[in-house]
């Protein structure tokens, strides 16, 4: 684990990207930031620009319009950066797999570090997923 990863794992700045989702994952993400679940107690906050972010949280079924933008946003994210595939659609395109407007699966567009399955994932699952991400970052060489 390098110095950057060590610092990063203490306070993760997350950027939320919805690439053609049904809104549920996005609601549950905002929900985990509000008082009941409060991800901020683990140092995780949402930022408005991907240039400030350590983690790209990607929800939704990666719509054709969004595919080039996901790539671009991943390139704009300062490295080391991590990607979380959020929900059934982010992980595997879910029920929208057969749609004509769904592009490539997220893990073929950018490297994905953590998958949080569920439709939508429950806030507890989200917290567990973020914990796993921190574990993954801290054990990295």
């Amino acid at each position: 684990m390098g110095f950057k990863e060590k610092v990063l794992s203490k306070s993760i700045y997350a950027f939320h990207l919805s690439s053609g989702s049904c809104n549920n994952c996005d609601i549950e993400f905002l929900d985990t930031l509000t008082p009941r679940y409060d991800l901020e107690r683990f140092g995780i906050i949402m930022v408005g620009s991907v240039k400030h972010a350590d983690v790209l949280i990607c929800t939704g079924s990666t719509n054709r319009l969004c595919v080039p933008r996901i790539k671009k946003l991943y390139e704009m994210m300062p490295k080391p950066g991590f990607v979380v595939a959020w929900g059934a659609c982010g992980s595997s395109r879910g029920v929208f797999k057969d749609s004509y407007n769904t592009g490539a699966p997220l893990d073929e567009i950018v490297p994905v570090d953590v998958y949080i399955p569920g439709c939508p994932p429950k806030p507890e699952a989200i917290i567990a997923g973020m914990k796993k991400l921190v574990d993954k970052i801290t054990v990295k060489k």
Partner: protein, 395 residues
């Protein structure tokens, strides 16, 4: 000659959960035009539904929008029941009403929170989302999931509300009402909010009718429409409730309508739980005959409409969906022109746009030179509240 600047909002906006894009044309502080591009969230739901069986397409339409995840299925099953002339047991009708109203509660509460954030009242944002949790808990108890309830099926509902759950639901509703009273007092009696929202983004009754606005957007302009009363479905004709309307048509009226509707919803749920008859919850229809059917339901944002055509096979030949935001969105242009940039966000939020329902598309104009981002807009909006507070002697 005056200088016109273009302000693009979106498509990736830090607070609004969905990708969306609209371009404001401004002259100084004043908005002179607005352009909306749709299709960002386009997932081809109608086509997908035509490739699925009738039972599966209910799950597909449930995922049109996360907030309306019982409005779309209820409309879809009503279209299928209309098509096949299928009878639904009484108990199932009451359960449908309960789920619909729970959804309305959580949607309106969520809206109140977001509106608070846009105005620089982050406390209201946190409150709104915190007080929504009892409703999510009830949903989890009754349906097994916080969102995407999967409660509806053709001819009935999938799960029953157990007798043991009723006291729990009532206690959590009491808790919710207590918080709602507090929120209503804090929001509706606040002089800063009065100064900030009254007379802002006015949609007159005539224009609301011209644009065929729906739901709370229309009701706040004095148009007395509500599918639940005009074309009763589920158990709405068996309980007592009233349609809330406000004559003003401004953002404040929309807020009042939504907050007062939450009280009506709580009352409907209580009456339904009280009157719910015993009996089966599902009439187990065997097949869908050839024909056409329509379904209507009052989603939290307005009327939701589905049309289904069947040729006697096991999947729809045509499935058309019209979501409420599709009708409400053009009123944004009507109301925002002539207002200041700092009011643009709250005027947009006032119609409670749901982009997932509407499915939108984007073309970015690369020639735009003067760019504001949404953070800047929210900051402008929050600063305006702060200035008002100072002027009115609040700290």
């Amino acid at each position: 000659m005056s200088h016109k600047a273009h302000i693009p909002i979106g498509p990736y906006h830090p607070l609004q959960e969905e990708p969306e894009f609209y371009k404001l044309v401004v002259e100084g502080e004043k908005v002179v035009d607005v352009d909306v591009r749709i299709g960002w969230n386009h997932r081809g739901i109608e086509k997908l539904s035509e490739a699925k069986t009738f039972d599966q397409s209910i799950f597909i339409v449930e995922r049109i929008c996360g907030i309306c995840s019982s409005s779309h299925p209820i409309t879809c099953v009503q279209a299928l029941e209309d098509l096949g002339g299928i009878k639904v047991p009484d108990r199932a009708l009451y359960i449908r009403s309960i789920v619909q109203e729970l959804e309305r509660l959580h949607s309106h509460m969520l809206w109140a929170g977001l509106a608070g954030h846009f105005l620089g009242y982050n406390t209201v944002f946190m409150w709104g989302w915190k007080y929504r949790e009892p409703i999510c808990d009830i949903m989890e108890t009754v349906t097994g999931n916080r969102q995407n309830y999967a409660m509806l099926k053709v001819g009935g509902v999938r799960r029953d509300i157990e007798k043991e759950h009723v006291p729990y639901i009532l206690t959590r509703l009491d808790e919710f009402t207590r918080h709602l009273d507090m929120l209503r007092g804090a929001v509706l009696d606040d002089p800063v909010l009065h100064a900030r929202l009254k007379g802002v983004g006015v949609l007159t009754k005539e224009r609301a009718i011209d644009y065929a606005a729906l739901g709370p957007t229309a009701r706040a302009s004095g148009v007395d429409i509500d599918v639940r009363r005009d074309h009763p479905y589920a158990a709405y004709d068996r309980v007592k409730w009233k349609v809330i309307t406000q004559p003003e048509g401004d953002v404040f009226a929309k807020m009042v309508v939504r907050i007062m509707e939450m009280y009506e919803s709580v009352s409907i749920i209580r009456q339904c739980l009280d009157k719910m008859p015993a009996g089966p919850i599902d009439s187990n229809p065997k097949d869908i005959p050839p024909g056409e059917g329509i379904g209507q339901a009052e989603a939290p944002r307005g009327e939701c409409f589905h049309y289904i055509k069947s040729d006697g096979s096991n999947s729809p030949v045509r499935h058309k969906v019209r979501a409420p935001t599709y009708m409400n969105f053009p009123t944004f242009r009507e109301t925002v022109i002539g207002q200041t940039v700092s009011d643009a966000t709250i005027i947009l939020a006032a119609i409670d746009p749901c982009y997932c329902c509407t499915e939108r598309m984007l073309i970015v104009d690369k020639d735009d030179k003067d760019l504001f981002d949404i953070q800047e807009l929210i900051r402008l909006s929050q600063e305006k509240t702060l200035k008002l507070k100072e002027k009115m002697g609040f700290k």
